[in-house]
Symmetry: C2
Subunit: 222 residues, 2 copies
């Protein structure tokens, strides 16, 4: 639709002009603009105009978009892999129990994995899933392309997460998992994932090697 190359921080034509040019209603233009604003591509200022703010590399890894580690690794031009997968059924730790709104004595299906970028370990993930009968067997017997696909089998697809962002120093366990020679700074994302009906279906702790990954976000004045 739009043939013109848009440069970062450039002012785009007014809603009225775009409406005339493209032959659609101003309301439709507004909806489109609002969607792009939500994605961090545009910025609108009352009485002034609308501006392009998102260049591709300024939002290489937009933290507000919930992507699989696989896609995040790909987006940084690495080849994704997985190693050291370990699973078990366990009593839910109390913090997990709280995050997933589980009853006392509930079990969770625990999966830990190391994700690699070009064979180098870059992310260590611990997943906690409310346990459902036969989950462990299902996981062991079949091959799943992704955790999302596995959760789908149990009607536990997630569509958003509430995420807490922290910085931590690698402890012994994580150093071993990520094959670190010395203590390093890690970006820790603690996330509770919810289904589209608001049911918590997954809690995860993800440790990202911070010198390999950077996350981006557009922040707007309150």
């Amino acid at each position: 639709m739009i043939n013109k190359e848009l440069n970062p921080m450039e002012k785009i034509p007014s809603e009225q002009k775009l409406s005339n040019q493209l032959g659609v209603s101003r309301n439709t233009i507004r909806e489109a603009i609002r969607t792009l604003e939500q994605e961090g591509v545009l910025y609108c200022k009352h009485g002034v105009g609308t501006f392009v703010i998102g260049s591709k590399d300024s939002l290489k890894t937009n933290i507000t978009t919930l992507e699989s580690s696989t896609n995040i690794i790909k987006s940084q031009d690495y080849f994704p892999g997985t190693q050291n997968v370990d699973t078990k059924v366990m009593k839910a730790p109390s913090n997990v129990k709280s995050k997933l709104s589980l009853e006392e004595h509930s079990n969770v299906f625990y999966i830990e994995r190391v994700r690699t970028a070009d064979t180098q370990p870059v992310v260590y993930v611990e997943d906690y899933i409310p346990y459902i009968d036969e989950m462990e067997n299902e996981y062991r017997e079949k091959y799943y392309e992704s955790l999302t696909e596995f959760l789908g089998k149990f009607e536990m697809e997630f569509s958003f997460s509430i995420c807490s962002i922290k910085a931590v120093i690698s402890d012994e366990k994580v150093m071993k998992k990520l094959e670190l020679k010395e203590k390093s700074a890690l970006l820790l994302l603690q996330q509770t994932h919810y289904s589209d009906k608001g049911i918590p279906v997954l809690y995860s702790d993800s440790y990202y090697l911070s010198d390999k990954f950077e996350f981006n976000v557009i922040r707007r004045k309150g």
Copy 2:
């Protein structure tokens, strides 16, 4: 308007019902819902319904909202303060020059500060502002409540930032500034701030003590 207490993950009435109940058009309801969705308070699912996802403490410090360090400190129930302010006019470092789209040999006004929470150092900030005549004198002669107020004097108010989130280990300099006894994990926010017309007006590196601060974000599936 809304008297009912809303619980997290609760389904709210349909747009049509809210429209009737509140006596406003469905379009208006939609706009309001969309704004709240943008803020991370609601989540809409086509053909299903709209759900409350944001409880107050799950988004205590929403990283998508650009707040002053002062307000972030306040929001975590601490009393904010400032110490060790140091300023100088300097040749723009090359990374800053690039971020602020400055010409070769441009000067910047550099401000470094330690922000405190209940007198304890918690954030170390380095600010780089494109230099304008008399900026240094203005800063020294008058008292400014905030950097925002100071920038306002030069018509350099910012309204959003593009932020890169990293985890780092405190180096000697930062350890001294934050009075750290041992190396700690710090959350580093590297931000280019823009005016509402898309002009870069401030670049800053902020080092947050990660055990005092946590940032939150709602992530949605792409």
